[in-house]
Structures are given as structure tokens and as C-alpha cells.
Amino acid sequence: MTWAAVLVLAAGTYAFRLAGPVLRERLHVSDSVQRLLSLGAVALLAALIAIAAFTDGDGFAGWARPAGVAVGALAALRRLPFVVVVIAAAATTAGLRAAGVP
């Protein structure tokens, strides 16, 4: 890794990040398009969650992680505090791994 590589990665990433807010102001966005943009963010977040929960590289992550996420999801459905959701998920996965579940 060189500074040049880091700077290119940083500049490109920042360009992706800044493009949204800048374009959003230039464009005239109707309510229905704004709704699609919001739904798009929901789709992206949902996909990120699923990929992070189930996959590692291009394969299956093993059962410990999705099991932990499932416990966190149950905690969230029961409207438990966010902190509890996060800790319950991590603790479940950590416990399963300690017990030898991959």
C-alpha cells in the first residue's frame, strides 16, 4: 500500500459520497422520486444486512453469525433497547463460537 493508492481510494470514495448530496440539489426531485430514493436506501441496507449476516467472501459465513443476528432481530422485534440488540447478537455468536460452532 502506498500513499498514492490510499489517496486515490480516499478521493474516489469521497467523490461517491459527495455526489449524492450535490446531485440531489441540482435535480428537481418529485415526492414520488424521493420516495424511490428512500426505498432504494432501504433495499441497499437490507442487502448489506443479509450479506453481512450470511456470507463471508463468496461463501456461507457459518451458523454462528446468522444465529447471533437472528437473536438480535428477535430482540429488536420485541422493541428491546438498541444496546441490548447489539450485545445479544454479539454474545450469541461469541458463545456459539466458543462452543465450537463455526
Partner: protein
């Protein structure tokens, strides 16, 4: 400070603790892979995208070229463009807010903003989470660089389950909307199917095709739909 805001700080701190641990492991891993300490710290400050940073280091550690590492990282970060379109209202409309806030645009801050109905709260959530996670990521990286090999594997603590679970908790209010549930379900299915086939980053973008499952708008008053607080205000 009102109690709701303290709740926001507490929630951001919970995710910040997980980010801190992952930052520590990133710092240790990068140095172990031969990246200089200053470059590792600089990378976390300037790129501030954990997935892309791990990917870039991983490509280099396995003997790949720097160009491949950068291209992989950029592909993974392309999702920030549609994210920015969706949450621009939460970032703010002044140039200073945009220039600084854009750097804080990560999955978790988008999720924090999306979880809010009220535009003012969405902005507060975005910035609270953004500044907390930026601090946690960079302090974590520095600790990891200094601690080096003494750092254990964060997987043993289940940190990798904390992120999807936290994001899911933040996404849940938006999923109360039937259209959002349909779009999310189709998007998730497409993304998971694409994961073995496409390089990292693209499967997430494929999920945008889930928008075909969105019904006609029209039920929507200004208060309807997912992330209702995000786009309001309109361009001036």
C-alpha cells in the same frame, strides 16, 4: 439535552464500541500486512470505510496489485452514491455541512438517519452517529497499530454479528411500510443470489433492482413511507 437525544448518543455509542473493536483489528492487520503505521492511520482518517479498507489490505496481502486493491475498494464504496441521494436532507444543505457530512456517510449513519421520522431528528441522528463512529474507527485503528500482534481476533467476540443486527434494528421502523418490505425482500434475494457470482460491492447494488417491487406512490402524504424525514426540505 433532552432524553431522546441522550438515547441517540447511547445507541451511537453501542455501535461505536463495535466499530472501535473492528478498528483495532484493522490497525493490527494492516501493520501485520506490511503497511506502515502512518499510512494505516492515514487510510482510516481519509477513507473511513471499513469494508473497503479491509478489502484493499486483503488484496495486497494476497499478492495483488495496488490498482486492484483500489478498484476493489471503490467498487465496494459505489453504494455511497445512492445512499447520499437518499439522505442528503439529513446531511444538511449548507456547503460546510455537505463537505464534512459526506465524509461521514457510511452504512451505519445512513441507517441511523433512516430510522428517524422527523427531519430534524434525522439530521441529529446522522451527525451524532457519524462523529461517534469516525472517532471510534480512528481511535481503534491507532490502538491496533500500537498493539500489533497483541490484538485478538474480534470474531471471538461476535462483533461481526453486531453490525448486521444493529443495522437491522435501525431498519425496522422503515420496514413497517409494506412497499419497503417488498422492495427489501426482493433486493435481499437478488443480492444473496448475486454474491457468489459478482465481486464484492456489486451484489449490494444489484439489490436496487428490488425497486421494481415498489407499488405506485400516492398513498403518501409527506409523512408516509420509509425514512420520511430524509428528503424533506427540497432543493432551494
Amino acid at each position: 439535552m433532552r432524553s431522546v437525544d441522550r438515547g441517540l448518543v447511547r445507541d451511537a455509542a453501542a455501535l461505536g464500541a463495535a466499530v472501535l473493536m473492528v478498528g483495532i483489528s484493522f490497525g493490527a492487520l494492516a501493520v501485520a500486512a506490511g503497511v506502515s503505521p502512518w499510512l494505516t492511520v492515514g487510510m482510516s482518517l481519509l477513507v473511513f470505510a471499513g469494508g473497503a479498507q479491509f478489502l484493499a489490505i486483503g488484496v495486497l496481502a494476497s499478492g495483488g496489485a495496488a490498482a486492484a486493491a483500489v478498484a476493489g475498494g471503490l467498487l465496494l464504496n459505489a453504494r455511497h452514491l445512492p445512499f447520499g441521494l437518499a439522505v442528503s436532507g439529513a446531511i444538511g444543505r449548507s456547503w460546510p455541512a455537505r463537505l464534512v457530512g459526506s465524509h461521514l456517510l457510511v452504512d451505519e449513519t445512513v441507517a441511523f438517519a433512516t430510522a428517524q421520522r422527523d427531519p430534524r431528528r434525522a439530521r441529529l441522528a446522522f451527525w451524532t452517529a457519524g462523529l461517534t463512529l469516525f472517532a471510534a474507527w480512528n481511535v481503534g485503528t491507532a490502538i491496533g497499530v500500537l498493539a500489533g500482534q497483541a490484538v485478538g481476533d474480534p470474531a471471538a467476540f461476535g462483533v461481526d454479528a453486531a453490525f448486521p443486527a444493529g443495522l437491522l434494528a435501525l431498519l425496522m421502523p422503515s420496514l413497517g411500510d409494506r412497499d419497503a418490505r417488498r422492495v427489501a425482500a426482493v433486493g435481499v434475494a437478488l443480492a444473496l443470489l448475486a454474491t457468489p457470482l459478482l465481486p464484492a460491492g456489486l451484489p449490494v447494488l444489484v439489490a436496487l433492482a428490488g425497486l421494481v417491487a415498489a407499488g405506485r406512490s400516492g398513498r403518501g402524504g409527506p409523512d408516509a413511507g420509509p425514512g420520511a424525514g430524509l428528503g424533506s426540505g427540497g432543493p432551494r
